[in-house]
């Protein structure tokens, strides 16, 4: 068992969006701050009590609120953030659907919301409206009233099931 002192820095290794990252941190640092310091500023902070989900990322295949994980706990993990969704400049179908359905306004909840949708659609490729609402209930949005987000997730589920990603202006 490794024991670290209070002010001692810890070296961790993890994968973010497929890239190996080495990061030195105090044990108390939250994963959300670590990711943002590493340049993944699409990961947002909307609260201090784990309610809002603006910090949602995929960690080892699960959606987690990165404000509620210590960076040291992420040692050895694989993380996907919104920055890692578009491939070769081409938007992911969920991103396309958010654009098409006007599912964002200020855009602050959007990265977390999109990652939650990504996880939801992996778990349940053809969710009902109720399942979508339940599925994103850990992600708060102050602007949209949610309806267009629900529509976007529905559209994304169709696109993904059909394997269709129609051409979008990038």
């Amino acid at each position: 068992m490794k024991v670290y002192e209070k002010d001692q820095k810890v070296k961790i290794h993890f994968k973010v969006n497929g890239q190996d990252v080495e990061y030195e941190t105090e044990p108390r640092k939250l994963l959300v701050h670590a990711l943002r310091e590493l340049g993944f500023t699409g990961v947002h902070i909307g609260c201090d009590t784990s309610n809002c989900g603006a910090c949602t990322v995929i960690m080892n295949g699960k959606s987690v609120k990165s404000c509620t994980v210590l960076a040291v706990e992420a040692d050895g993990s694989e993380i996907l953030t919104v920055e890692g969704l578009a491939k070769d400049g081409k938007l992911h179908p969920i991103q396309e659907a958010f654009w098409e359905k006007h599912a964002l306004q200020c855009g602050y909840c959007t990265p977390g919301m999109i990652m939650e949708a990504y996880w939801l659609l992996k778990e349940k490729p053809d969710p009902t409206e109720e399942e979508i609402r339940e599925g994103i209930s850990g992600n708060l949005c102050r602007c949209t009233g949610y309806q267009n987000i629900v529509e976007a997730v529905k559209l994304a589920s169709q696109k993904l099931r059909l394997g269709q990603t129609p051409y979008q202006r990038q």
Partner: protein, 710 residues
């Protein structure tokens, strides 16, 4: 082309869906220090802060004064009393805990009616807790009240809310020895700049509004922390960043609404309102001048709009804006108009229930007739255009349909509103063409989610007849445009858009002038068609790009700034309805269906307008059944995080259907009226009226809490 009126997808989205936005906390500068604020834990006390390394006090920011930062006396829990500086936010919050603050308790007052007695002063420097008192009278209200068939009395409470944008406030400040550079999560770079210039007595200030994660009125004013940051960075050799925690945000910013209305209404047995007499009391919280100035205007808006869309011949309203030892209140989506709409629509609902008269019928008997337009409501507001009768008729079949759908435990409610939007005094637009043909449009307003950038691109593209992709829209930097007002009061598309429209027209004229020089022709001989300029007779043509390139050689500036002055607001209106389920066992209220019809004049982009309605309606619904800022008897906010406050999720939010009619246009070049606040203005009484109709007892306060209903 022909983008105006179409549901064009947002030009703002590609960055934001990739996580490539730049919000204020995404900004880093070399050597930046993190700033945090020690906040008062007492509603009213003398304070003494022990100065140590890295700790600054009110005396450093505003010597001899308690605002923005309390130097000697604090007047609300959450007020900044000291500032700490550290290498990062972790260290800053460590340091906060070590700051020693001594408090000497002073008597405090939390209830505005108590405060009005002036027995306890909110702040020792105040001569009265009453900040403002204004009387509005039309006709002979007492006389008419005496003659009325029925008189109804009551008190309605429109509770305190917290705007709670998902991104808190925050700022980065850097004085480079010559100039203060200031980035802030604000609703207007230009307005913030003017405030900082005033406060510092120093004009070399550049303000940047980066991406902003919503505001809903909470980021109009300049906050104490912003002034402090600006002041400190002027003295210190490094950049400073301030980002509050959500808890800090909730205790110290974004508080809004919080008004009460004691009323007496007289009406005939046919349901015609003949007199309204009442007192509005708005709780301003503590005496922070920027906030008080903002919110006292909103109290007046409540008073001026209290008659709603109705032709009420006699009325007398006294409006008070009163200090208490609570967080200063500011604008929150609707800024005074939701309270007015809530009060009058609740009263009309009571009349309808009292007389057992259909709620649409009651409204039809009272609304301003189309031939009365423009209509002066007697309290200083003119409703410019529209047909209130017709929109009620449009609503009727939908309302009947909803009533049919309503089974046991389901209730239907309805409310109508008229709004004031598109405030002045002016707005600026700058449209320019680079020598390579690129069109850049810059607005003096400050969108922060509403999508006005797309609407502006639609307008510019239509005037210049170019593909929308060729128009780049920018805002939020005091360096890139002459000046600006900002984004609030549902003014941006209408007022900012009118400036944009006029600036584009002038740019087009100058491009024509350049083409004229190229073709040796007078401008009148030319036709501007589909991005080309054609000589009407010779049919010779030049492309837009060539005319733009040539203008530079001909010495014609293609950089147009247009200042659009505004004299009067414009009034959209509408009728909204909902089907609501009330569980009589648990008291749980759920909105099942929601339908709104609005007339906001010309709709520039129906998709964005609908997005505004859905977002606003959800906030209005949340006020009716979920949200409330509650204080303990010690003056401490009890709802200081997102779960305690009642912020709704996707599960609580209903489907919201929206229809629009275009009957009453504004006099602005865009012909549009504002829609940013309408949803929040009308939805609250829709829901409470529905619940009231269902439970069969009068509802005096919100949120319609479980206990109260069962």
């Amino acid at each position: 082309m022909g983008y105006i009126g179409k549901p064009i997808k947002r030009i703002e989205d590609p960055r934001l869906i990739r996580g490539r936005g730049t919000y204020v906390d995404d900004i880093e500068l070399p050597g930046i220090k993190f700033v945090a604020f020690v906040r008062s834990t007492k509603p009213h006390a003398k304070v003494r802060v022990k100065k140590t390394q890295g700790v600054f006090t009110g005396e450093d920011v505003n010597p001899g004064s308690d605002f923005p930062i309390a130097s000697k006396e604090t007047t609300y829990v959450g007020q900044p009393v000291a500032v700490v500086l550290a290498n990062d936010r972790y260290e800053a919050y460590d340091l906060l805990e070590s700051v020693e603050v001594e408090y000497e308790d002073l008597p405090y007052v939390l209830d505005p009616f108590d405060a009005m007695k002036n027995e306890v002063k909110v702040y020792t420097g105040l001569s009265s807790n009453i900040y403002l008192e204004k009387n509005f009278v039309k006709g002979s209200p007492e006389l008419a009240m005496d003659k009325a068939d029925f008189v109804l009395e009551g008190e309605l409470v429109n509770q305190r809310l917290i705007a709670s944008p998902l991104e808190t406030r925050g700022a980065v400040a850097y004085f480079d020895g010559q100039r203060l550079n200031f980035w802030s999560s604000t609703q207007s770079a230009h307005y913030l700049r003017r405030n900082l210039v005033n406060f510092l007595g120093f004009q070399n200030v550049r303000v940047v509004q980066p991406d902003v994660g919503g505001a809903f009125g909470s980021k109009i004013i300049t906050h104490p922390e912003e002034y402090a940051l600006a002041k400190l960075t002027m003295k210190l050799p490094y950049p400073l960043k301030w980002i509050p925690t959500r808890t800090e945000e909730m205790i110290s910013a974004g508080h809004g609404r919080d008004k009460r209305f004691k009323f007496k209404v007289g009406f005939t047995k046919e349901g015609k309102i003949v007199s309204l007499i009442g007192t509005i009391v708005g709780d301003l919280g503590a005496p922070y001048p920027d906030a008080n100035d903002d919110e006292s205007g909103n109290v007046l808006s409540t008073a001026r709009m209290i008659l709603g869309p109705y032709d009420i011949p006699n009325a007398s309203i006294i409006a008070f804006a009163v200090h208490t030892n609570k967080t200063p209140t500011t604008s929150y989506r609707g800024a005074g108009r939701p309270e007015a709409t809530y009060f009058i629509e609740r009263i009309v609902n009571m009349i309808s229930n009292e007389l057992k008269l259909d709620p649409i019928e009651v409204r039809l008997r009272n609304v301003v007739r189309p031939n009365q337009m423009p209509y002066d409501n007697g309290f200083g507001i003119v409703y410019d255009s529209g047909d209130y009768v017709k929109i009620l008729e449009d609503a009727k079949p939908i309302y009947e349909e909803l009533k049919k759908e309503a089974g046991e435990n389901y209730c239907v409610g309805l409310a109508m509103y008229v709004e004031i939007t598109g405030f002045g005094p002016w707005e600026v637009a700058r449209v320019l063409a680079k020598s390579d043909g690129k069109i850049i449009a810059i607005t003096g307003s400050g969108p922060h989610g509403q999508g006005d950038g797309t609407a502006f691109a639609q307008i510019v593209a239509d005037v210049l007849q170019v593909p929308i992709e060729d128009v780049e829209v920018r805002w939020g930097d005091t360096d890139v445009i002459e000046d600006g007002i900002g984004t609030w009061g549902s003014r941006t598309v209408t007022v900012g858009g009118s400036a944009m429209l006029e600036a584009s027209k002038e740019l087009k004229r100058r491009i024509l002038e350049s083409a004229g020089k190229m073709l040796n022709a007078d401008v009148e001989e030319l036709e501007y068609n589909d991005g080309k300029i054609v000589h009407k007779v010779t049919k010779k043509e030049v492309s837009l790009v060539d005319a733009i390139k040539f203008a530079y050689r001909a010495g014609i500036s293609l950089d147009v700034t247009y200042v659009y002055p505004v004299s009067k607001p414009t009034s959209p209106y509408g009728v909204h309805m909902a089907l609501v389920k009330v569980d009589k066992e648990t008291g749980e209220v759920k909105v099942v269906k929601y339908i709104g019809i609005d007339d906001v004049g010309a709709v520039i982009n129906p998709m964005l307008a609908e997005g505004q309605i859905r977002g606003g309606v959800m906030q209005g619904i949340a006020q009716a059944i979920y949200e409330s800022a509650r204080f303990s008897e010690e003056g401490v906010l009890l709802t200081s995080n997102l779960s305690d406050y009642g912020f709704p999720t996707a599960v609580e939010s209903p489907r919201i259907e929206w229809k629009y009619v275009e009957r009453g246009f504004s006099n602005h070049p865009t012909k549009s009226k504002g829609i940013g606040e309408a949803g929040a203005v009308v939805a609250t009484p829709v829901i409470v009226n529905a619940v009231e109709n269902c439970v069969g007892k009068r509802i005096a306060s919100m949120p319609s809490s479980l206990g109260e209903l069962v």
